[in-house]
């Protein structure tokens, strides 16, 4: 699911994390953070953020907590991702009927393995905007990945105070030709560390529809990775939090992990 969440994060701030189709090699050298400047090079910020959040491959375990006015529930998920196109998540602990459920992203499409039905179901494209497993992440967040890469124009708007930190406010406006559901996206990057701390999503009427907070950065290899991500939708009383228990980047994962045939066997 880490991959999925990264995908989500990336979808949210697509152009900033835009990367060529080929995955970047592990990076050890991180360019210095231009903390002093009020108008940093947006392209450099993108490069940093992308390097931070994406690996060639990744695998991890996370706990997703979904809170709604009616109920709160917790799922433990295991995730695998390879490049931009392949991702698999598996519910390791959840309700009795959902433990063992898997979602496979492949070829920009999603398949679900449903453990009780013991069947695979392909998600119709019309359902991409719907919630993933009742969370505040949408299927679209999982599937779109970097497809919006070239669809925004990024500008640094200034500096604001967020979560008690000074942050650059980067505004992302979709290009006229882009098929983007958001009217505008804002990305807030901590000036002292160059780490992304929040994203804000606005609809076409420029109304804030959801916020994603990134926090609890932990050193994983050379990375400072946000191990806690929280989505706050506009709907009051709802939120979804993801906390990584462990995550590893750039290890070997075979393509077979993401095979549809395997999914159909429920393995």
């Amino acid at each position: 699911m880490h991959r999925a969440v990264v995908a989500a994060v990336v979808a949210l701030a697509a152009p900033l994390w835009a990367s060529p189709a080929a995955s970047p090699a592990p990076r050890v050298e991180v360019p210095p953070c231009p903390s002093a400047t009020d108008a940093p090079d947006v392209a450099r910020l993108v490069e940093r953020t992308q390097a931070l959040l994406q690996g060639r491959t990744s695998t991890g375990t996370m706990v997703m907590t979904i809170t709604t006015p009616q109920w709160t529930r917790t799922l433990k998920l295991q995730t695998w991702a390879k490049g931009e196109e392949l991702a698999l998540l598996r519910v390791v602990e959840g309700g009795p009927r959902e433990t063992g459920m898997m979602t496979l992203k492949r070829d920009k499409q999603l398949w679900n393995w449903l453990p009780r039905a013991a069947r695979v179901m392909k998600l119709p494209s019309g359902m991409l905007g719907d919630s993933w497993m009742g969370s505040d992440f949408t299927n679209d967040d999982l599937v779109r990945g970097n497809s919006l890469a070239d669809d925004f124009v990024a500008t640094v708007k200034g500096t604001v105070d967020v979560q008690g930190k000074r942050a650059w406010q980067v505004s992302l406006v979709p290009k006229p030709s882009a098929a983007v559901v958001w009217g505008r996206v804002e990305l807030l990057i901590d000036r002292s560390t160059c780490l992304p701390i929040e994203q804000r999503f606005f609809d076409e009427d420029d109304k804030l529809t959801r916020r994603l907070e990134l926090s609890d950065f932990k050193r994983i290899g050379w990375r400072d990775f946000p191990t806690r991500m929280t989505i706050h939708p506009a709907e009051p009383g709802r939120q979804t939090t993801i906390v990584y228990q462990d995550i590893a980047f750039d290890i070997d994962i075979t393509d077979d992990t993401f095979s549809l045939h395997r999914l159909q066997q429920g393995r």
């Binding site: 009927r97 959902e98 459920m101 449903l114 009780r116 039905a117 179901m121 119709p124 009742g134």
Partner: protein, 403 residues
């Protein structure tokens, strides 16, 4: 005696009387048959509503109608049913579970309205295969698909579908079902989305326990006014946890449409009878005017003015009653002669989730006959009274001198 006299007077000028009667009869025919048509259509709409999905009254968890939520249920429908049976004799309750989901096969899926219905209940017609039954060891459980949904998914009777949705506790509900039959669910929308499960299967799918979303009450009445059964139901329920709504509260637009059409009908009635009334006033005035001398003689011979007044009014009323009778007979002949009207292209199919019949069985509503009768009598009374008053006030000497 008075009636005989009036009757004879009427036929002294046959042509005039026949014209008056024709006007009256045509007016009554037109209005009663129009109203008959309209009321027949309304009655059938009402029947569609009450026998199909909606029913007369529904009981939900409080707030469900406003904002349906999978977790908002009537938790103990058995007890609620018992309470309702106590206050509404003859009521037929039906328990229903409603939820959203995704139904599909490995390759394709579509949004679904999952409806849990009791065996033998549910407002659908099985067009292929069989209905839902409690087959003891059936695994997977059976499902009926809306005909268009089945076609969209490419699923036949005997095939298998997977259902996925969100349970009451937020978890992912998923299961596999055997398609035992296809159903015409009543409307295009439902046919393209409905998946019918047995109530118990739907309850376990959504994790509802014994809870249901709708307790549909059907009453042994054709009455449109449900205020007293509704009040009785509300009085018997714990309104902190539940709500009871009549069909017209759940479909306010429909109720409004009917009311607006009725009001339109009433204004037409008023205009038609106003025209008829003025015509009668004119004719009776002429009739009295022509007989000024005669009336003068009657008065001179000792006939009391009150009696003259009564005579003229009786003449008017006789025409009214006769015109009414002919008009009603004609209207009945038209309505029952046609028997039914095919609305075909006019009002095809579904309005607000209810399928209305395209063929309206015509009946003559008693209410239309009564309202036409009352209106005609009042019109003729007023139309006859003015000239009658004039006649009664005539001074005999002057009247006899007129020509």
């Amino acid at each position: 005696m008075l009636v005989q006299l009036a009757w004879r007077n009427l036929w002294r000028n046959k042509r005039r009387t026949i014209i008056t009667l024709s006007a009256l009869a045509l007016g009554v025919t037109g209005i009663v048959s129009l109203q008959g048509y309209r009321e027949s259509a309304f009655a059938q709409m009402l029947e569609s509503i009450t026998t199909q999905l909606v029913g007369h009254i529904q009981i939900h968890g409080r707030g469900y109608q406003e904002a349906p939520d999978i977790g908002n249920v009537v938790a103990d429908p058995v007890t609620v049913e018992a309470v309702v049976r106590g206050v509404l004799p003859g009521v037929r309750p039906e328990r229903r579970v409603l939820g959203a989901g995704l139904v599909g096969t490995e390759d394709t899926a579509a949004g679904a309205l999952v409806m849990g219905v009791q065996a033998g209940q549910g407002s659908f017609t099985v067009t292929k295969g069989q209905s839902l039954t409690h087959a003891a060891s059936a695994q997977p459980a059976g499902a009926l698909l809306g005909v268009d949904l089945a076609a969209q998914l490419g699923v036949e009777v005997g095939g298998e579908v997977v259902l996925i949705g969100q349970a009451k506790d937020g978890s992912v509900a998923n299961d596999r079902y055997l398609v035992v039959g296809l159903a015409d669910a009543g409307t295009h929308e439902l046919n393209a989305t409905a998946v019918f499960l047995l109530l118990e299967d739907a309850q376990s799918f959504f994790g509802l326990g014994d809870g249901v979303h709708q307790l549909v009450l059907r009453l042994p009445t054709d009455d449109e006014d449900l205020s007293s059964p509704l009040a009785a139901t509300r009085g018997a329920l714990d309104l902190k946890a539940l709500e009871a709504l009549s069909w017209n509260e759940m479909l306010p637009e429909l109720k409004n449409t009917i009311e607006i059409k009725r009001q339109g009908q009433h204004s037409i009635d008023v205009i038609v009878f106003l025209i008829v009334g003025l015509g009668v006033l004119n004719i009776m005035t002429m009739s009295v005017f022509e007989r000024t001398r005669e009336i003068g003689v009657m008065l001179a011979l000792g006939t009391r003015p009150r009696r003259v007044l009564a005579l003229i009014v009786t003449e008017s009323m006789l025409q009214g009653v006769l015109g009414l009778a002919i008009g009603l007979a004609l209207a009945a002949a038209i309505l029952y002669g046609f028997g039914s009207v095919d609305l075909g292209g006019l009002a095809s199919g579904d309005v607000m989730g209810i399928r209305f019949p395209t063929r309206v069985e015509l009946r003559m509503p008693l209410s239309a006959a009564i309202s036409a009768g009352v209106t005609i009598i009042v019109t003729m009374l007023v139309g006859g009274l003015l000239p009658a008053l004039r006649a009664a006030r005539l001074v005999p000497v002057e009247a006899m001198r007129s020509r």
